[in-house]
Symmetry: C2
Subunit: 439 residues, 2 copies
């Protein structure tokens, strides 16, 4: 493939159009480099709002933005839909679904995927929640389960369809649990007059002793209180053993009969073949130095969820959160420009701007440095920051309208089963675009 | 199944939540009947705007409205997601995916599906355009084909990915052709700087001598002019012979090499087993009398696309358009009320309110009785009427914003490939919801 258009400038191949890849690519717009941005999707998505797509209060297009449109006008960038299947760091090329591509600099920004810790049953029967197709599958599945509940003949048959378990009490689990609780408290009996809200149960479970473990104790406690107040059953210090589509079993012997299990209990980096095993660290991340350069190479980098800057201060790398990816993308752009111009580089320094999580339609918790907020104020700030962060004016407006409508009526507009969720569907159908070599 | 809740009132089972079924169900709200509304989807969709979903300027949720939400508060109506597999008019029950249901009155309002006239190749390789999943498939497929065009090595390899053929010059074909032409003229080179708009070709073909055959000659000519002006190649009086995914062959020997064929050249009624063959008329519609009652029965009815009132004046029934379905739904509601109360019924009288079709972002043609309009005025009226007709305030607002953005920038916001289109995918995945009997 003809991968280098302008032989004067070095080619930077960026794999992944998520937060890190997009920031990096944008920041290199005026630098003396050529950029080839690859992503398996033709869009960039905004994960913090995925749970709203999953519970039917936001269309998926509101949190997805066309990568081609985003980089329209950036003359030194080409975009291709492709998935990287292998990396050859000795000979400086990658293998992809659209052929081999040689690079001068390679940046892995592929992000992370759900970690099922090797448990194949859970992987098959539980629902992950990290991508748009996964959020849509969850939506279709639980709406189908509500229809099953409507026609069930006995309470014993009905209950598992109305039982929702979120495994993993991080932001995703907390936000989903809050959303399902709201569905039960405010929407269920209006849409489904045949169902009683007392029959619907929402659980949030975690191996650890706190919800929102990485946040402050205050945020953690406030979140737990709010969830309990909404009727969520919070089970901490419990470890899931197995799930067969009907019974979720815990190591302490407890069993929950449920058809709706969402697994957001672990993530792992998405790493193609070609990286030395000794350079893969905890969470399946690629070990890098302080300028995000992959150990043992001089022109391969990894940022965001898939890369881990391992130092004494950060023995497990930085957290896999959006701010880290964005800041590393920005710093790496500066450093690549330095390298190209033969200048000295600067190490990455993380500025922790805080974290937030919502619990329901008007409550949130926020750790903003020394300031810890909760309640409605935190929710307003959360909403404002997320709106601003969405790419594209149209997305902001459509999302705002959805939220307004949702806020005023408790009635999100998109509880629609557009496609039937079938567990046995060809995995490629739910997966990213892969351009077939033959028809 | 316990199908009758209130044994005092007769049970009207309505199969299909489209224009006809929804109008009928709504109009029976205050009548002394019990209603069971069935649909294979949990939403009602608005077909006139499907082509905008297909070409990526509208989210599918904007033209889909939750049936449960729509009938929230109508006390005499129950809704179930179900598909009817058979009808027993002798013993007054239907077979469905959720069991057998006995009825006092049955109304078939199942609408129509694409008619491939028995050609299995065309059915496999061409894209129909009558439902939301089909519109989404078309969107994903053509966007994937544009990505294929980007990486093609020769013009010969590239051209078929950039060639779009609409077979069937009714409103669907005309509107799609206009949309693809606009994509080529205004958007292609911005999103895909690697592609030249001269390489993209859009065809509209039909067996008949006119585009928009059922409309006036004036509308027909204006539409054709407008399409030609946008660079669409219009081939009339040509009959498609075959399509194998690469070459579209015509009976006169002509061949178009294309990967994008949309088939909107025929429809057929969706009729489950159980109706006598002699009562199925042209277009696979069920023959009825003037109160939409199926010939040979006294309590089974068919309205809209699936029913045909056969009289001397209407030897092929009324056209399969929204207004007919809505007006028949309204009249049948009155007549069912009459029947229940032992009063005389009244025959259906169609009031032709006219028809419209758009050609591009600011042109349309409209036949409104004696008045024939075209151009921007017609487009404004078209937009106004469609906005008003959308169910739900939220849908109106979101759609309006999409159109505004699209109108101001030529740049629809939803050219996103959310799921990979795979021709070999299990048909059930693209089909409507069918609740599995076993997991």
């Amino acid at each position: 493939m003809d991968s280098k258009q302008n032989t004067k400038f070095p080619l930077v191949v960026i794999v992944g159009g998520g937060f890190g890849g997009v920031e990096l690519a944008s920041r290199l717009a005026k630098e003396p480099v050529e950029i080839l941005l690859l992503d398996k999707h033709n869009y960039h998505s905004f994960p913090p709002l995925l749970y709203q797509v999953a519970t039917g209060s936001l269309e998926c297009e509101s949190i997805a933005f066309s990568l081609r449109k985003n980089f329209e006008g950036q003359k030194n960038l080409r975009f291709r839909v492709a998935e990287v299947t292998g990396v050859n760091t000795e000979q400086n090329y990658i293998e992809t679904t659209i052929g081999e591509i040689a690079y001068d600099y390679l940046v892995m920004a592929t992000g992370s995927t759900t970690n099922f810790f090797g448990n194949k049953d859970i992987e098959h029967y539980a629902m992950p929640m990290k991508t748009i197709p996964e959020a849509l599958n969850l939506r279709y599945m639980f709406l189908q389960n509500l229809e099953q509940a409507v026609i069930a003949k006995t309470k014993e048959e009905r209950d598992p369809y109305l039982t929702f378990v979120m495994v993993g009490a991080g932001p995703t689990g907390v936000e989903l649990a809050g959303s399902f609780a709201e569905l039960r408290n405010h929407v269920l009996s209006k849409d489904y007059p045949e169902l009683k809200k007392e029959d619907m149960k929402v659980y949030l479970v975690d191996f650890l002793p706190r919800v929102l473990g990485p946040m402050s104790e205050q945020a953690s406690n406030k979140a737990k209180e709010a969830l309990l107040g909404m009727g969520v059953e919070v089970l901490l210090n419990v470890k899931v053993q197995s799930y067969d589509g009907n019974e979720l079993k815990f190591e302490d012997g407890r069993v929950i009969r449920t058809k709706n299990v969402v697994w957001s209990a672990g993530v792992m980096g998405i790493v193609p073949n070609g990286f030395a095993k000794e350079n893969i660290v905890r969470g399946n991340r690629i070990k890098t130095d302080e300028i995000n350069r992959v150990v043992g190479t001089n022109n391969v980098f990894a940022i965001g969820d898939v890369g881990a800057i391992i130092t004494e201060a950060t023995p497990n790398g930085y957290p896999g959160v959006a701010q880290v990816a964005i800041q590393q993308g920005k710093k790496l752009a500066e450093n690549i420009a330095h390298l190209v111009k033969g200048e000295p580089t600067e190490p990455f320094k993380y500025k922790d701007l805080g974290s937030m999580a919502t619990i329901g339609r008007n409550k949130a918790v926020a750790d903003l440095g020394k300031i810890k907020l909760s309640g409605f104020i935190a929710w307003l700030i959360w909403m404002f920051i997320h709106l601003i962060s969405l790419l594209g004016f149209r997305n902001k407006v459509v999302t705002f309208i959805n939220w307004l409508g949702s806020y005023m009526t408790y009635n999100g507009g998109t509880r629609l089963i557009i496609r039937r969720y079938v567990r046995e569907a060809l995995p490629e159908v739910d997966e990213a675009v892969q351009l077939p070599k033959t028809d």
